[in-house]
């Protein structure tokens, strides 16, 4: 019953998406059809949402006659794990993809109703064509609603790694909200190319719809790192794993696009380039999907070997070819006036920023794909490890951080030597102060010191740019609170939000540099009652306990953590053995503080002999990464707050469809009151 209903809903979603795409493209010539295309969008979203609801229901009811439930369901798993199972395995994850895509497409269709009429047929057509592909996957190669003829009494439960931490309930939805959401700017960019026009009217929704998934993706990448840190037990949060890279690649191009879009707004140039970056972002999302779903790459994320690899590859190839042809055919028409970029101007810094982001993207892409090249050409297994990525990423990252300081400090257009001096010299003081603090606290690594100095510089500039408009208003006699609401949250909202994000990124840079070069590590074999020292902590091993839980066997090492002879807390790193897993899975225990984390994981544990091999780490400043990411999300939220109707800076509706020449001053992030 349920399998048949589920299959019907998926076929319905395929039908609605396909017909909707056709109707939408047809609406380019017959505008009356657009209303029907919109209705079909909502129909698609409803059908795929219903299929998801049905699957969750089947999972909760442990209906093992549904293929996917038989594959990942189990009576032993707790309720939250059962719900999370929706995205824990291949078929369910594609179904969940459909749900998110449905939400995005319906949301974007609703938000653009009655506006951007000339672009929407192409945008909706592109969105629904993408949706049709994913519904096709669900209808054919990755069917979640297969009927199981002889339903088993119980199933194996989802992948144990996904049951190990509550973050697994949060990280994937954020990642999908980031990944899948890139479909919306892709559709809008494709529409601009097909219309051969990128006016300021379209630029605003384009930026907002890029910013939203970008924010989700940013948070998702960090949540993934946090999960790895809390679950995998090797003491780090980033390993340049192919699938981590898969999430990082579109983030890089999307970040570049968010910046180049500012130049489009201010200068009217880099239009074709910005669209290229947006298309590339979506294509990298599909590449990442291929990487996780095809079984070609080895990773903690990869799903089991599956038959959908070739299907996704065909889609990727088609999307790539289509994008290249679309760009080649239309880019010359779309490019605006190519203004000359003066060397010490803000727009020149944006250009360098973009080049660095693209260089970063290519570096990571090459490192990720290179093992495949070697294996295809030489039939030899190699792996590109952390050292390559670190060596490449550290200088590029440092250069980007440097630009974060220089760029916002420089004025738009041609600046006099005096202006440049006045802008660039004062932040040097903060750079030297932060560098001095680093040296005093024992930092000796050259790159880390450089990062701290750049972070100090960029932090100074960011803070100044963030609060300068407020200071000016107050000096003019306005009350601070009013000026804040009017300026920071009103007219200067975009600028304020962007600099909150910058401030967060500066902190993340510093925290990554310090935590990766200043960690202290110690490994010891302890018997019951024995102790070891790390940093200013003493760790005492009280004993090992075996605990049988419904879905696993846990061996817990009880460790007392002392500082200055006083018990700080008891910690319990664990070893989990799941019945379906070959190796036991270590689960570390982390004592978090702003200064640094005490991180304990078990290398081996023997409850019989009461001995444990303990790996202890002190990871300085890691918590700052998580905190700053929260701040980053807050900044993105400020950027995305709906603009008050009639507020200065909104583009009048009449501008839609025309190609307005002068860029409205308050839309660009660093616009208000900059020289």
């Amino acid at each position: 019953m349920i399998p048949a209903l589920g299959r019907t809903l998926i076929l319905l979603s395929l039908l609605l998406a396909t017909s909707g795409a056709i109707v939408a493209f047809a609406a380019a010539r017959r505008p009356a059809a657009l209303a029907w295309a919109r209705r079909l969008v909502y129909g698609y979203a409803l059908a795929i949402a219903a299929a998801n609801a049905l699957m969750v229901w089947a999972l909760l009811a442990r209906d093992f006659s549904v293929g996917y439930v038989a594959q990942v369901g189990s009576h032993a798993t707790p309720t939250w794990v059962t719900i999370v199972s929706l995205w824990s395995s291949l078929e369910g994850s594609i179904l969940f993809w459909g749900l998110i895509l449905g939400l995005y497409v319906a949301g974007a269709t609703h938000a653009t109703r009655g506006r951007y009429q000339t672009y929407m047929p192409y945008a909706i057509g592109t969105w629904l064509a993408t949706a049709a592909f994913f519904s096709f996957l669900l209808a054919g190669p990755a069917q979640p609603f297969l009927t199981v003829a002889n339903p088993p009494l119980d199933g194996p439960g989802p992948n144990p790694l996904l049951q190990n931490h509550i973050l697994m309930a949060i990280h994937p939805p954020f990642l999908y909200l980031g990944y899948v959401g890139m479909t919306i700017p892709f559709g809008l960019a494709a529409a601009a190319l097909m219309r051969r026009r990128l006016g300021h009217d379209l630029l605003r929704p384009l930026r907002n719809w890029l910013l939203l998934p970008w924010a989700f993706l940013s948070v998702a990448i960090v949540l993934g790192g946090w999960w790895a840190y809390e679950v995998l037990g090797w003491g780090g949060y980033w390993a340049w794993d192919p699938v981590e890279n898969a999430s990082f690649l579109p983030w890089l191009t999307a970040t570049a696009a968010l910046h180049s879009a500012i130049v489009v707004l201010r200068k009217g140039s880099l239009k074709g380039w910005t669209l290229t970056l947006i298309l590339a972002t979506f294509l990298l999302v599909i590449l990442g999907t291929f990487m996780t779903r095809s079984g070609v790459f080895n990773s903690v994320h990869s799903f089991t070997q599956s038959s959908i690899g070739p299907t996704i590859l065909v889609f990727l190839a088609a999307a790539l070819v289509w994008s290249v042809v679309l760009l080649a055919m239309n880019i010359d028409r779309i490019e605006g006036e190519e203004g000359a970029f003066h060397g010490t101007s803000r727009e020149a810094m944006f250009l360098v920023n973009n080049l660095l982001f693209v260089l970063f993207t290519l570096t990571v892409l090459i490192g990720t794909v290179f093992p495949l090249v070697v294996e295809a050409v030489q039939d030899r297994q190699i792996s590109v490890g952390g050292p390559y990525f670190d060596r490449m990423a550290v200088p590029i990252g440092a250069a980007l951080l440097f630009l974060m300081g220089i760029g916002p400090a420089l004025p738009w257009g041609r600046a006099t030597r005096d202006q440049v001096k006045r802008a660039l010299l004062p932040p040097l003081v903060t750079a030297v102060v932060v560098l001095g603090i680093g040296l005093a606290l024992g930092v000796r690594n050259g790159w880390t010191l450089l990062t701290l100095a750049f972070a100090g510089y960029a932090g100074h500039v960011t803070m100044k740019e963030m609060w300068l408009p407020l200071a000016r208003r107050v000096r003019r006699g306005e009350r601070a609170a009013e000026a804040f609401v009017e300026g920071q949250l009103g007219r200067g909202r975009r600028r304020f939000g962007a600099y909150i994000v910058h401030a967060a990124v500066v902190v993340i840079f510093a925290a990554i540099a310090v935590s990766s070069t200043m960690k202290v590590s110690s490994e010891r074999q302890l018997r019951q009652g024995e102790s070891m020292a790390i940093g200013d902590y003493t760790l005492s091993f009280f004993g090992a306990e075996v605990r049988r839980e419904p879905h696993r066997v846990a061996t817990i090492a009880h460790i007392g953590v002392y500082r200055d002879g006083r018990l700080v807390r008891n910690m319990g790193p664990r070893m989990h053995q799941y019945p379906t897993q070959r190796e036991p899975i270590g689960t570390p225990d982390v004592h978090t503080s702003l200064k640094g984390d005490l991180y304990l994981s078990i290398m081996n544990v023997d409850p019989g002999a009461q001995s444990v091999g303990l790996h202890a780490l002190i990871n300085p400043m890691v918590a700052w990464i998580w905190i700053a990411t929260g701040v980053l999300a807050l900044g993105a939220l400020v950027l995305l707050l709906p603009e008050r109707r009639g507020a200065a800076g909104t583009i009048p509706e009449s501008a839609a469809g025309t190609d307005p020449s002068p860029p409205p001053r308050t839309v660009g992030a660093p616009s208000e009151e900059t020289p």
Partner: protein, 175 residues
């Protein structure tokens, strides 16, 4: 039509798709063992329980199944049944051997009492043999033909059908 964009696009797209296409069906979890196709590494270990030394050299001339396992490895429980069944059926043609590492004798004996013993189980005291064979995790199983050449390596638990397929290759090897 902007030819430059088209050319750059093609230069990026064609090799990317080609490489991904060529790698379809690749199993990234597979660690290619350099031992496959080479003569087996000989070892002498004591049998659990009896304490008798068993020398691999004395087994030359018969196909071998060398299974690395441990009692702390849960998948090994399920796999043990598969091996016991296989040894019962094929024991006259193929010599099965279990090699246990990083474990205690009392636990191994309890395990064998509960799960059946059909072939000798050897104790790899310091894990030297496991290291020599490049064992990455347990269970792992090596298949050796009658001439003493390692024909195949299986990572993870065997099931009945995969065991039968491997046995067919070692028996069908150079007799």
């Amino acid at each position: 039509m902007n030819r430059k964009v088209l050319l750059i696009g093609a230069a990026l797209v064609v090799p990317t798709i080609a490489i991904l296409f060529l790698n379809l069906g690749r199993n990234p979890h597979k660690v290619v063992s350099p031992l496959v196709g080479r003569p087996m590494i000989e070892f002498k270990l004591t049998e659990v329980g009896s304490g008798q030394p068993i020398d691999l050299a004395s087994m030359r001339g018969r196909p071998l199944v060398i299974n690395f396992w441990a009692t702390w490895c849960l998948p090994c429980y399920a796999e043990h049944g598969v091996l016991v069944r296989g040894a019962r059926r094929m024991g006259s043609d193929v010599q099965f051997l279990g090699v246990v590492f990083d474990d205690e004798e009392s636990r191994i004996l309890r395990f064998l009492d509960q799960n059946g013993r059909e072939y000798p189980t050897l104790v790899d005291e310091a894990g030297k043999v496991a290291i020599a064979y490049g064992v990455y995790g347990v269970p792992e199983t090596f298949f050796v033909d009658a001439a003493g050449t390692i024909v195949a390596k299986h990572e993870g638990p065997l099931d009945d059908s995969s065991l039968a397929a491997y046995l067919a290759t070692v028996i069908g090897g150079p007799h």
